[in-house]
């Protein structure tokens, strides 16, 4: 499924801004779900309505009815990854949709604008990122229109390429010279292991970090150990 998200045109394929219905938002993460609704590809039956008691149940039903499945990131239908429905507003609307199945697409101007402006912008920024041209990618956000910047995919990408934010915190570690010395002299015996060191002592070791953390939870230590994976 990761391959789908490489192609921004697929991400946007499910996004079709719609005529406002019951005050539901017609942009952002909701629009992918709305796209399914307007195409009348997901219509809960009477029996289904009674079983829908949560967003999760709604996802499962939509996936089952449409031959897709629910992933951690969203609904996967026709190899397209749709963001999860997250709104009670959307749920309520879904439950009434069967009784009012007629929905009208919004003016065509907005979808065209979306694809005309946002899609090329996303592709260009992603090309910059792939080419490791971080400054160029950031520069593109500075000159983009508000309409483009308001798109949720664009906003998410913008936050990812934003410069790091640094702040000081009053936290200190102890001197780790003893741990470093242990690594120099003893680590060759523990290849492939995660080790937890406190001073010159090996306090825990495990083949995985998860197991090491579980081991550490059972120990009472004076201060946080230094963790390292021995190659």
């Amino acid at each position: 499924m990761v391959a789908n998200t490489f192609d921004p045109s697929k991400q946007l394929a499910g996004q079709r801004p719609l005529a406002p219905l019951s005050g539901a938002p017609a942009t952002g993460l909701f629009s992918a779900g709305w796209g399914l609704l307007t195409k009348r590809q997901f219509l809960p039956s009477d029996a289904d309505e009674r079983t829908i008691t949560s967003i999760e149940a709604l996802h499962a039903l939509a996936a089952r009815q449409h031959g897709g499945f629910v992933s951690q990131r969203g609904l996967i239908i026709d190899d397209i990854e749709l963001p999860k429905f997250t709104s009670d507003e959307l749920l309520r609307t879904l439950l009434t949709l069967r009784k009012e199945p007629v929905m009208v697409l919004a003016k065509t101007v907005e979808p065209q604008a979306l694809e005309r402006d946002v899609l090329p912008f996303l592709m260009a920024v992603r090309r910059c990122i792939e080419a490791e041209q971080l400054s160029a990618a950031r520069g593109m956000f500075e000159v983009a229109s508000a309409q483009v910047l308001n798109n949720p995919l664009v906003a998410r990408l913008r936050s990812l390429v934003a410069p790091p934010v640094v702040r000081r915190v009053e936290k200190q570690d102890v001197d780790r010279n003893l741990e470093y010395e242990w690594l120099r002299t003893e680590s060759h015996k523990y290849r492939g292991q995660w080790v937890a060191l406190q001073g010159e002592h090996l306090v825990a070791m495990a083949p995985t970090l998860r197991e090491l953390r579980e081991n550490l939870w059972t120990l009472t230590l004076i201060h946080a150990p230094l963790i390292h994976r021995i190659e």
Partner: protein, 147 residues
């Protein structure tokens, strides 16, 4: 701590770095600094790599931080270990100080379930807003915020 010629402070923290890749056969010295990825609650060593566009988190570390199932930007990176597909994710990383103040950095890092290496601290998305200096005479790593 280090100061500029005009008397202003260059750094706010210092830590002792490790200069060897333990267990590896790499013949040259490296710089491994202490970091604490947010919410991991453990101090780990990460190799300083100012030539790297992105920082990389060890796969198991990324998994413990629940970053492998994120929704970040998919990218492919080229490394000495080969090409890897993964995602860029925003997370917080502390550069731990032995003296002075630790730096908390909201950074962008690369994570991949396929990455076989350790953690790296790269320039883009992390060090680019950190002033830092290395003193090999006593393995000191000095750092401070640009802001």
């Amino acid at each position: 701590m280090l100061v500029r010629q005009n008397g202003t402070s260059f750094c706010t923290g210092r830590s002792r770095f490790n200069d060897r890749a333990e267990g590896s056969d790499a013949p040259t010295a490296k710089i491994f600094v202490k970091i604490e990825p947010h919410s991991l609650g453990l101090r780990i060593l990460a190799q300083l790599d100012t030539g790297a566009t992105w920082s990389i988190l060890n796969t198991e570390v990324a998994r413990e931080l629940s970053l492998l199932n994120g929704e970040g930007q998919p990218v492919k990176i080229s490394t000495r270990l080969g090409d890897f597909r993964g995602r860029l994710e925003r997370t917080q990383i502390d550069i731990i100080a032995d003296d002075g103040a630790t730096l908390n950095i909201q950074a962008t890092v690369f994570v991949s379930p396929d990455w076989p290496g350790d953690s790296f601290i790269g320039y883009g998305g992390l060090l680019e807003r950190v002033q830092f200096a290395v003193d090999p005479s006593d393995n000191s790593f000095y750092f401070g915020s640009m802001q």
